[in-house]
């Protein structure tokens, strides 16, 4: 099998060689969803036109996301014999200028460059590996994202792709499971269940048919790690699933991916076809006698389908509701009652490396009980938002202030939310926390699949809790009462608190309800739904109290508790706010102080935004600073 693999690999390298040795410059465009959203395809078009314009022949390739979403659109240029330079914030105009300067006049434009990717040096341009963004990062799961063309299997094969599978086929399934177990790999979906143990359970289950299912139903709001892997390195997932199939004795796999990811679905389809063509998927893989087929199943939009039994119900064509308790483990009776192995995208995607680099290599990174790396989608009020991969056990503040560059607009850090609707908000006092599966649970949150949303002083924690509860109320499948009714009650209380109707005792009631919902719900959605509320009460109780007792929202977010007004001493009567007010609530003559009519004001805040900074006449106030009129609702 290895021999056959080596042949395929040689073929791939030969196919890629002409491009490498062409002596032409290589232009790499980050064209994952995030790149496209900022205009990567327009930039790509501009590159093609400019090259024609300056009569230079170059190779162009599209890659997935390298993680620096804050600087999209990213364009990298590799001139023969020169290092790969990454340029950020590209627009069609800027890229034209750059191509002209660098390709024609050999000026690498250090002013536009973010840095050098990989080896090499060039005067005036730093190496990205030494930059704060990448210094603490370690790319394992994301190693190929942003580097290889996800639509070209040869590029994946050329970087050891499918080598792990070929090696596995020479070994016994028990061996592979032992390797995964001793690597200490834990499921990257959120709960961190030991992967080896799960694989073993499925391997030991006796059945004529078993299934391998990948959970790519990344439903947490604020998370896009799995999407980036699917879009940037789809073959890693396919290879990992094939390995899992071989190890557990399964011949059929499903990838359950959300329909909201059209590009990921398209790239997976292409990848599956390419792998089949090369006999790396399908019948009798590399002549080993092992067959493995993969199918894509598009989710239809239900967060609860991230729960394993609900996901299984959904593939079977049912309402995606978790199976009632007591229920067998999916490794015993999953899809169509057959033993089913279900793992997250990243768990599968890292498996090939665990095999071909070895358990020891994998376990050399990370903390004592959590080996390897963690991928986070770092977003919110942060300077450098994007996709980061760090060793397990890294301090929280390193991720936020070093990799992420700190808070946007140099405002004050307030909290960081991890784990989406199942997680919690951690305050400043937890910034020294070493981040792994276990430490986050201890602190009242969870790692989850990897969303990390940073919040600053202008974020209201009660509003955030309400936001998540709104989400879980919408997404509760409605099967068990604690989740269906309990979350609604919690939301009603939170709505009251945000709308000036909070009462003494509400906080205690929320705590009591939360505890019951956690205890009484039948699945992970309900078991964790109160977390965002309970963690914000734990760490930001005074903010709840301010809402209830002083009818004040210190972050100036909750509309019923705030009021906009114009300071007559500062207002110069320029009329900008009056003209931009969508509710026509502002009146005043030119060059005379303007006034906001509180009965018409919708509190959209546009007046505050449009008031020129040199006047700063519009103010937003809350609590006892509000005037005595009957504001709010």
């Amino acid at each position: 099998m290895l021999q056959k693999y080596e042949l395929i690999r040689k073929e791939a390298e030969e196919k890629l060689a002409p491009v490498k040795e062409s002596g032409k410059p290589l232009i790499i465009v980050g064209a994952a969803t995030c790149g496209r959203a900022t205009g990567a395809l327009d930039v790509l078009q501009a590159i093609k036109e400019k090259l024609k314009d300056i009569s230079i022949d170059a190779n162009i390739k599209q890659v997935g996301c390298i993680g620096m979403c804050y600087a999209e659109v990213l364009v990298d240029i590799v001139k023969p014999g020169k290092p790969r330079i990454c340029y950020g914030n590209m627009t069609p105009e800027k890229v034209g200028e750059l191509l002209h300067d660098y390709l024609l006049e050999d000026n690498p434009r250090p002013d536009l460059a973010l840095g050098i990717v990989g080896e090499g040096q060039l005067e005036g341009i730093p190496n990205l590996n030494d930059s704060p963004v990448f210094k603490s990062q370690q790319r394992v799961i994301l190693k190929n994202c942003g580097h290889i063309d996800p639509e070209n299997i040869d590029e994946y094969i050329a970087v050891d792709g499918y080598k792990g599978l070929a090696l596995c086929l020479e070994r016994k399934p028990e061996d592979i499971i032992r390797e995964v177990t001793s690597a200490g790999l834990r499921g990257r979906g959120g709960a961190g269940f030991p992967t080896g143990r799960k694989w073993e359970a499925c391997f030991k289950a006796k059945s004529d048919q078993k299934y391998v299912v990948c959970n790519a139903d990344e439903g947490d709001p604020g998370a896009f790690m799995d999407r980036s892997v699917l879009e940037g390195d789809p073959h890693a997932l396919l290879e990992g699933m094939a390995i899992a199939g071989y190890a557990t004795g399964s011949s059929k796999g499903y990838i359950y991916v959300r329909a909201e990811y059209p590009l990921a679905i398209a790239r997976l389809k292409t990848a599956i076809e390419q792998a089949k063509e090369k006999n790396l998927l399908g019948d009798n893989i590399l002549g080993s006698g092992f067959s493995f087929d993969l199918e894509i199943f598009q989710g239809a939009g239900a967060f609860v389908c991230g729960e394993s039994t609900a996901l299984v119900m959904s593939i079977e064509g049912n309402r995606g509701m978790p199976k009632p308790l007591p229920r067998p483990r999916t490794t015993e009776a999953g899809l169509w009652g057959k033993p089913t192995l279900l793992n997250n995208v990243k768990t599968f995607a890292v498996a090939p490396q665990v095999i071909h680099k070895g358990a020891k290599w994998f376990a050399s990174t990370g903390s004592e009980n959590c080996k390897g790396t963690a991928v986070f989608a770092l977003t919110g009020k942060i300077k450098r938002s994007g996709l980061v991969e760090v060793p397990m056990g890294i301090e929280l503040k390193k991720i936020i202030f070093e990799v992420g560059g700190g808070i946007l607009g140099d405002k004050k850090f307030k909290a960081v939310q991890t784990g989406g609707p199942s997680g919690g908000c951690l305050p400043e006092s937890k910034l020294n926390l070493p981040v792994d599966f276990d430490s986050l649970v201890k602190a009242g949150s969870i790692m989850g699949s990897g969303g990390m949303v940073v919040m600053d002083e202008t974020t209201c924690m009660v509003d955030v809790a309400r936001y998540f509860l709104n989400f879980t109320v919408d997404e509760s499948c409605g099967q068990c009462a604690p989740c269906r009714l309990g979350t609604q009650q919690m939301l009603a209380i939170l709505n009251d608190i945000c709308e000036r109707k909070g009462r003494e005792g509400d906080i205690e009631l929320l705590e009591e309800l939360g505890a019951s919902i956690i205890e009484g719900s039948i699945c992970g959605l309900g078991n964790t739904a109160p977390n965002p509320v309970l963690s914000t009460i734990k760490y930001f109780r005074e903010e709840y109290e301010a809402h209830i007792r002083d009818k004040s929202c210190p972050a100036l977010v909750c509309k019923s508790l705030i009021e906009y007004r114009i300071n007559p001493e500062k207002c110069q009567g320029c009329g900008r706010c009056r003209r931009s007010c969508p509710a026509e609530a502002i009146s005043g003559n030119r060059k005379e102080p303007h006034v906001i009519d509180p009965s018409r004001c919708t509190k959209c805040g546009i007046c505050l935004e449009t008031c020129p900074e040199r006047f700063s006449a519009v103010e937003c106030v809350t609590g006892k600073d509000r005037s005595n009129i009957k504001g709010g609702q």
Partner: protein, 152 residues
């Protein structure tokens, strides 16, 4: 309509497990799930109409009334929420003169809120058809809409 329905069904064997892919294909072809479409699926698989409806209504992706030519999905993910996604939605509502969940009278645009489109680093974002528009501001909304409105 019948012709379209038959075309969709011809691609499936009628297995129970094909129900959701079948509903998705039907919606793609018709633009929404019409009563006739769902009845035909029920017949094709051999299950009760109520069951087909029950499955379809469970998932947020399915619509039971005609949609606009362009579907606007305002992301309400966490990152978009803390970065002012709600205000983008309000601006869209006032520009299109419809509420979230509705379709414009000329059937050009439908407006809805979705959980998260996974482009959080570009928050706030709006997805129109299959395109993601990132780093939006209220004042940019009109320009984006005009681009689609002129596309006939």
């Amino acid at each position: 309509m019948q012709e379209k329905i038959d075309k969709v069904l011809s691609a499936f064997n009628g297995d129970r497990s094909e129900l959701i892919p079948m509903l998705q294909a039907m919606q793609k072809e018709l633009g929404y799930l019409s009563e006739e479409g769902m009845q035909a699926i029920a017949k094709h698989i051999g299950m009760a109409e109520s069951q087909v409806y029950g499955v379809a209504t469970f998932y947020a992706q399915f619509y039971f009334a005609p949609r606009g030519k362009h579907e606007i999905k305002v992301c309400s993910g966490t990152a978009c929420h803390v970065k002012g996604g709600a205000r983008i939605l309000e601006t869209l509502e006032s520009q299109l003169k419809i509420k979230c969940g509705e379709t414009t009278a000329d059937r050009n645009f439908s407006l809805e809120k979705v959980a998260c489109v996974g482009s959080c680093a570009l928050a706030p974002v709006v997805m129109i058809d299959d395109n993601v528009h990132g780093r939006l501001e209220s004042k940019k909304v009109k320009g984006v809409l005009d681009k689609y409105a002129s596309e006939v």
